[in-house]
């Protein structure tokens, strides 16, 4: 929460993207979250990613459910469309928005409560439909808005600020998503923008459902000793398993990497994700091995991050349903209206 207005003045050397916009043009309202909240860092990463991808703000829809995390859409890209939906029901609203206008960039921001408790079913089915959207879980392990009760992602043995110990096993959104067939699954940390920004860019450009679980410490209720979602704990056990760089379509990737170590994955629009493995035994295109790798790492207490699983080229919601090309608002009237004869024929089929 800040009571000082953010000055309109900018750094005089702030670079502009090809739309003539600076990073600050992608900002939204002033955050009302606690000072030091990881969510604000994720907002900054979203702003950076949108600026770097040169997204046209009015061609973006930001969606969220309920919770601290779900306030995020108010804090970036003021000019974009925004929906703050019902608790846990953001995937349904996103499905509607995406179905009606397939050209929109669909950006969902949710939290561990909104996604893993009340909205768990919605999340699972959005992945099953392979809805074309980037879905960010701002994961802090607590219900911050209701004063710090454990959420479904809290680790066993983690202690709450008031002293009680969590005994229920956590739901790991990354393992869950891979198991459910999600086509893009990544984990990152609000305190590591060098990793987070390229992952966000890749998630936005991935066609299909991209789940990004971002550890985002709650400074007020979950940043103490004995917390497993604090800044200090996350940094101590932080283990990036793989580096992922996002390379836009026109750019040559050969110059930037020594051959052999880099593994490019091409996305549908010609952009690529260049992966560089840190762990030899890890393969982000192999579901079974990734799940095993994650479970082993969890036993060691490591916070594994990076692009965990990717399967580009899968049919998305529109492919499966053979929808018309282009957004519904641009469909010519003739194509939408069957005419008197057509209507009679249609009715005939139900007689």
């Amino acid at each position: 929460m800040s009571f000082i207005r953010k000055p309109t003045v900018t750094n005089s050397r702030l670079p502009k993207n090809s739309l003539g916009l600076t990073r600050r043009d992608y900002e939204g309202g002033m955050s009302t979250l606690c000072a030091g909240c990881g969510h604000d860092s994720i907002t900054a990463a979203l702003i950076q990613a949108a600026w770097e991808l040169e997204l046209v703000p009015h061609q973006v829809v930001k969606l969220s459910g309920i919770g601290c995390s779900s306030k995020t859409p108010a804090y970036f890209m003021s000019q974009a469309h925004g929906v703050n939906s019902v608790h846990g029901r953001m995937p349904s609203v996103a499905t509607g928005a995406g179905a009606a206008n397939r050209d929109l960039v669909c950006l969902g921001v949710s939290g561990d409560g909104d996604s893993l408790s009340i909205g768990f079913g919605q999340l699972a089915h959005a992945m099953r439909r392979n809805l074309n959207m980037a879905y960010v879980i701002e994961n802090n392990g607590v219900y911050g808005l209701t004063k710090g009760q454990f959420s479904a992602s809290a680790d066993v043995g983690s202690r709450a600020k008031r002293g009680e110990t969590n005994v229920q096993p956590p739901i790991d959104p990354v393992v869950t998503a891979i198991a459910l067939g999600c086509t893009f699954v990544a984990r990152s940390f609000s305190g590591d923008k060098q990793q987070l920004v390229p992952l966000l860019k890749a998630a936005i450009r991935h066609r299909g459902f991209a789940l990004l679980d971002v550890l985002s410490p709650c400074v007020t209720f979950n940043d103490h000793e004995d917390s497993t979602k604090s800044y200090a704990y996350t940094r101590r056990y932080y283990h990036p398993a793989i580096h992922a760089d996002f390379v836009p379509p026109a750019q040559d990737i050969k110059a930037a990497y020594d051959h052999g170590e880099a593994m490019p994955v091409e996305l549908h629009d010609g952009s690529r994700i260049v992966l560089r493995k840190v762990d030899e035994g890890f393969d982000p295109s192999d579901r079974a091995r990734t799940i095993g790798f994650l479970q082993d790492a969890a036993k060691r207490g490591e916070v594994v991050t990076g692009l965990m699983y990717i399967q580009p080229g899968q049919d998305d919601l529109h492919d499966v349903n053979h929808t018309v090309p282009g957004p519904l608002h641009s469909q010519p009237y003739d194509g939408l209206h069957p005419g008197a004869e057509g209507l009679r024929e249609l009715q005939q089929r139900y007689r």
Partner: protein, 602 residues
């Protein structure tokens, strides 16, 4: 890079660009804040402590602070610092009971000050309250020096001069007006404990060209201004040429307009970008329809039958590369008719009255050798300051010299090494008043610089002493004070408290913060959130941060001191702290030897 040493008194001082640029180190943000609070007398006293003549300088200072102003870097135009100083002077209540007073008994040390200009008066101002007996020798019948004789009264009213000089003289200085010192040896015989030479640079430069001495209508600028000031010259011909394009030339052309001239041309040898005059003085002259003619190099005065009829010029063409003239050519010769010529091509100091066998060493240019720190010449006990020391500068420099010389005189007279200078100090005090409360206004005001209103063009020429600038109105200065960025509200970082949550970096409106791996300066500058390309401004580099051993880096160039980093910091690793820079003056020696005397001034 090594962690920045913020304990060094110059570190935070340098962040306050205006105060750093001011030779007398006036605490600009403090007095601007006081004006904002309606504390005009307090603002005046803060000014007076460092620059002694707020009313005068608020009108005629060369304002080195304004080009340095941070606002000009992050926005467009600097805060009108100089004219806000005038606001403090204009709106203040009577401050006479707050002025330092001379003690009832003197310390028995007698100091002679030669010339009653700004340098000498500053020395007197600093030494009188400490019990020194001060005698000022002035060749004219009124004190003020070049402030009175060379600055026209339409820019600096006599009333303001008399008042601020009066404050000093009233402390008990003995003014020997109309008493020109013609021999240093004779003065030395009077047995003063110290002598301060503040005689300025009273000699206007000559332009020895054919015809120079054939007409009485060719004037030396500063002598002519002096003559106008004393009422000896009351008119000038209708067509006047001013040779030279410095600030004196601007005063000469504008004075000519008030003495009956109707066609005034300022003749410049070079193109406009090489002019010496301050931009605002050029603007003021051009507002009065003075024509500034560039690329005309004087060749000869045209005098026919003893009457000046014009002046011959070479019209020049220059080749300019990277802001420097690399070649010049004469295109043609032109004669420009005129009735009077005023030469304003510079001035210099001259010491024909100092005997060369007194142990005062003179250099190859026949200038006394003066120590840059102590202001003492090679004969102990004799000090130089103002234009007399190293040639023409501005009033504010003379004031700064005066403070330093007074310190030296104190040491010289009361024992101690004059070279032993008390250190500068800095005092920091948190501005945090509550959870989200700060003791300063940190809302960035995007307003443009306010213009100072001028007297109507038709009215201002009626009399010589109609002050052209009216000063800010209440509405105007209230906008202008909020343009100040409060650079003295320092961003102070405590590395051990940082949890590297990035909150400050994300919220910073000018992206001047970065947490990154440490590197050498060029590499570090290049990899900041926005690369730090202004090499004149330092980087702040923290100690290694606790969690990742990276460093917090701040580009001092672009910070607007809004306080959002401190407001957003969950652990108070960032704090906004008011810095008070302590510049030692002579009175600090008098109280004790500690560098920080008072902290609770604000």
């Amino acid at each position: 890079m090594k962690p920045t040493d913020t304990q060094h008194p110059d570190y935070f001082h340098r962040v306050v660009d205006c105060q750093w640029a001011c030779p007398a180190h006036t605490d600009v943000p403090l007095y601007i804040r006081m004006i904002a609070q309606g504390r005009f007398a307090d603002a005046y006293m803060v000014n007076r402590e460092s620059n002694v003549f707020p009313g005068i300088l608020g009108r005629v200072c060369d304002r080195p602070c304004e080009p340095a102003c941070r606002r000009a870097r992050v926005d467009e135009k600097p805060v009108a610092i100089c004219r806000l100083k005038r606001v403090a002077a204009d709106y203040r209540s009577d401050i006479r009971d707050r002025l330092p007073k001379a003690p009832a008994t003197t310390n028995g040390k007698r100091v002679a000050l030669i010339g009653a200009g700004c340098a000498s008066l500053t020395v007197a101002n600093d030494l009188l309250p400490l019990g020194f007996e001060v005698t000022i020798f002035e060749r004219f019948d009124r004190p003020g020096g070049l402030m009175r004789t060379n600055i026209p009264s339409f820019r600096l009213p006599e009333k303001v001069l008399d008042e601020e000089i009066g404050y000093i003289l009233d402390m008990g200085a003995e003014l020997k007006a109309g008493c020109e010192i013609t021999s240093m040896a004779a003065l030395l015989e009077q047995g003063f404990d110290a002598i301060f030479v503040g005689t300025g640079a009273p000699r206007g430069k000559e332009l020895e060209l054919p015809g120079r001495h054939d007409s009485p209508r060719i004037h030396i600028g500063i002598d002519w201004l002096e003559s106008v000031s004393f009422g000896h010259t009351t008119k000038i011909g209708p067509r006047v040429l001013i040779i030279g394009v410095g600030n004196t030339a601007m005063d000469c052309c504008r004075t000519s307009l008030r003495l009956g001239a109707t066609d005034v041309k300022v003749m410049a040898r070079k193109p406009r970008e090489f002019f010496k005059a301050s931009a605002w003085e050029l603007d003021d002259a051009e507002e009065e329809n003075v024509e500034i003619v560039v690329n005309h190099s004087p060749v000869a005065f045209v005098v026919e039958d003893g009457v000046l009829t014009g002046m011959l010029f070479d019209r020049m063409e220059y080749t300019v590369e990277d802001g420097r003239i690399v070649d010049s050519r004469v295109v043609e010769q032109v004669t420009i008719p005129c009735d009077d010529v005023v030469l304003a091509i510079g001035q210099e100091n001259a010491f024909p009255w100092i005997e060369r066998d007194l142990g005062i060493e003179f250099d190859e240019w026949d200038m006394p050798v003066v120590d840059r720190t102590t202001f003492m010449c090679t004969r102990p006990g004799i000090f130089f300051g103002g234009d007399a020391a190293w040639g023409p500068e501005n009033i504010i420099w003379a004031v700064a010299h005066g403070h330093e010389a007074a310190l030296s005189i104190h040491r010289h007279c009361l024992g101690g090494d004059v070279g032993d200078r008390p250190p500068r100090g800095v005092n920091l005090q948190s501005a945090k008043m509550g959870l989200h409360e700060w003791s300063f206004s940190n809302d960035f005001d995007g307003s443009e610089r306010q213009l100072v209103p001028h007297v109507d063009l038709k009215k201002r020429f009626k009399k010589l002493n109609i002050e052209v600038e009216l000063g800010y109105s209440l509405e105007e200065f209230q906008v202008e004070v909020e343009r100040c960025l409060n650079c003295d509200l320092q961003t102070v970082f405590d590395a051990p408290k940082c949890i590297e949550c990035d909150a400050c970096i994300d919220v910073c409106p000018t992206n001047c913060l970065t947490i990154t791996e440490n590197a050498e300066e060029p590499a570090l500058r290049a990899k900041l959130t926005v690369p730090a390309e202004n090499l004149d401004q330092p980087l702040f580099v923290s100690e290694a941060l606790p969690q990742t051993a990276r460093v917090m880096v701040k580009d001092e160039d672009q910070c607007v001191h809004c306080g959002l980093c401190a407001e957003r910091c969950p652990t108070a690793a960032w704090d906004m702290q008011k810095s008070l820079i302590k510049i030692p003056h002579a009175d600090d020696l008098a109280v004790d030897e500690s560098p920080i005397k008072v902290a609770a001034r604000s």
